[in-house]
């Protein structure tokens, strides 16, 4: 009898240890998912979730979502080497044109489509911008692969410094720079050229530049008017958001809705 009780106690103890281990493993998985921005708690309210910030005070966004820029990024010229190893510098700042910088890599599969798209004669670049491909330098890229991929009609520059200057988070990534305003006016990651067009058209519309570029006006009163309309619109939106209690960079502006409108949570 005593032996039986002892064996039973040992079995219970063993099962207890096993369950404790499983619970600990489960907790670690949940913690890991939470760190990645996934909350599986059905009772939690995402709107009340604490917002995480990086040590430098910037908002930490979910994976795949670039952080909002802490301030406006000015335009930087693109300097490096071309696919033949020749020194090259492309003027961005101080020009009177839009430039679409396509940050691509020879190794990422999504980038492959963009390398081919940019080869096309019929390519429509948003806002009539000049497209420039920027790959990382030879310390991070395959020279032979880049040579095979680089289109003839679009300048390709290998420049790791430009990736740092513009704080590029991923590849492929696209940044629209206005040389007249000397700053970035649109940016984002995309998986297709249509997405790039939509993204940049929206950015141009927000900046009040679409009408200006569409009419090929680079200066003069109508261009100034278009630009001021864009700035006035931005100021009006900022004022309306402030009135509602939202300051620029407010973390709540970057949250995804917890549920679709009209649906109720269980």
């Amino acid at each position: 009898m005593a032996v039986l009780v002892t064996m039973l106690a040992l079995a219970v103890a063993f099962l207890g240890v096993l369950v404790a281990g499983l619970l600990r493993s489960h907790a670690e998985i949940l913690r890991g998912l939470h760190d990645l921005g996934v909350n599986l708690d059905p009772d939690s309210d995402d709107n009340d979730a604490p917002h995480r910030h990086t040590p430098n005070g910037r908002l930490e966004t979910p994976p795949g979502v670039p952080q909002p820029r802490s301030n406006e990024t000015r335009a930087f010229d693109v300097s490096g080497i071309d696919v033949s190893g020749e020194a090259v510098s492309v003027a961005i700042a101080g020009t009177d044109r839009l430039t679409l910088l396509a940050f691509l890599s020879s190794s990422c599969l999504t980038c492959r489509d963009f390398w081919h798209e940019l080869e096309s004669d019929r390519l429509e670049v948003p806002g009539g911008a000049r497209a420039i491909i920027v790959a990382k330098g030879l310390d991070a890229e395959s020279e032979s692969a880049i040579r095979k991929l680089a289109p003839r009609r679009v300048q390709t520059v290998l420049s790791s410094e430009t990736w740092i200057d513009y704080e590029v988070p991923v590849a492929p990534y696209f940044i629209l720079v206005d040389g007249t305003l000397n700053r970035v006016v649109g940016e984002g990651a995309a998986t297709s050229w249509d997405q790039v067009r939509n993204l940049m058209d929206q950015a141009l519309a927000d900046a009040g530049l679409a009408a200006e570029r569409g009419r090929n006006i680079s200066n003069g009163p109508r261009a100034e008017s278009a630009r001021q309309n864009g700035e006035a619109r931005a100021e009006r939106i900022d004022a309306e958001l402030r009135a509602a209690g939202f300051e620029p960079g407010d973390p709540r502006l970057y949250q995804q809705p917890a549920s679709e409108p009209g649906t109720s949570r269980s």
Partner: protein
């Protein structure tokens, strides 16, 4: 200010200017010829071409601006620096020493590799550091050259040849 440098030539590009430094067709080394800072293993030299412009340079530009001059607008400027071979050093045409600047009177409407209505061009030959060069400049508007020559000279003063 952006700086590009290659083959012993450095160009400080003013704001709004872009440029390229290319090694010319003679770059192709003979079998076994190694390239080392402009020198071939057989003692020959490959020759450098610099293009600088205050407009968007097309991806392919010929040594003397072919492919670029055709798209130039009235305010556009193109500066080309073409290096010649060592056999040119000491020749009367390259007797001028030092990088020259340009004046409005240097330009002519017929002084271009390819005459394009409204444009003006000028060429100057010189030697620097034992290297023979041709400076070739195209202005998008011959009539505006009095206003654009200072911009061209600002760029030229930013060129260093060693």
């Amino acid at each position: 200010m952006t700086v590009i440098a290659q083959s012993g030539i450095q160009v400080d590009l003013p704001a709004g200017w872009e440029g390229r430094i290319q090694r010319g067709p003679d770059l192709i080394a003979p079998a076994g010829g190694a390239l080392n800072d402009g020198l071939l293993a057989n003692g020959g030299r490959f020759y450098t071409v610099v293009h600088a412009a205050n407009f968007a340079l097309p991806t392919e530009v010929a040594d003397y601006g072919g492919g670029a001059v055709e798209v130039m607008g009235r305010k556009d400027l193109l500066v080309v620096l073409c290096e010649f071979g060592p056999e040119s050093v000491g020749q009367p045409m390259f007797a001028s020493a030092g990088l020259p600047t340009v004046t409005a009177n240097d330009f002519g409407t017929q002084s271009m590799q390819r005459v394009i209505e409204g444009q003006g061009g000028c060429q100057k030959f010189f030697t620097v550091q034992g290297r023979a060069f041709c400076l070739y400049v195209v202005v998008g508007s011959y009539l505006r050259r009095f206003r654009t020559v200072p911009l061209i000279n600002e760029l030229i003063r930013g060129i260093t040849i060693t």
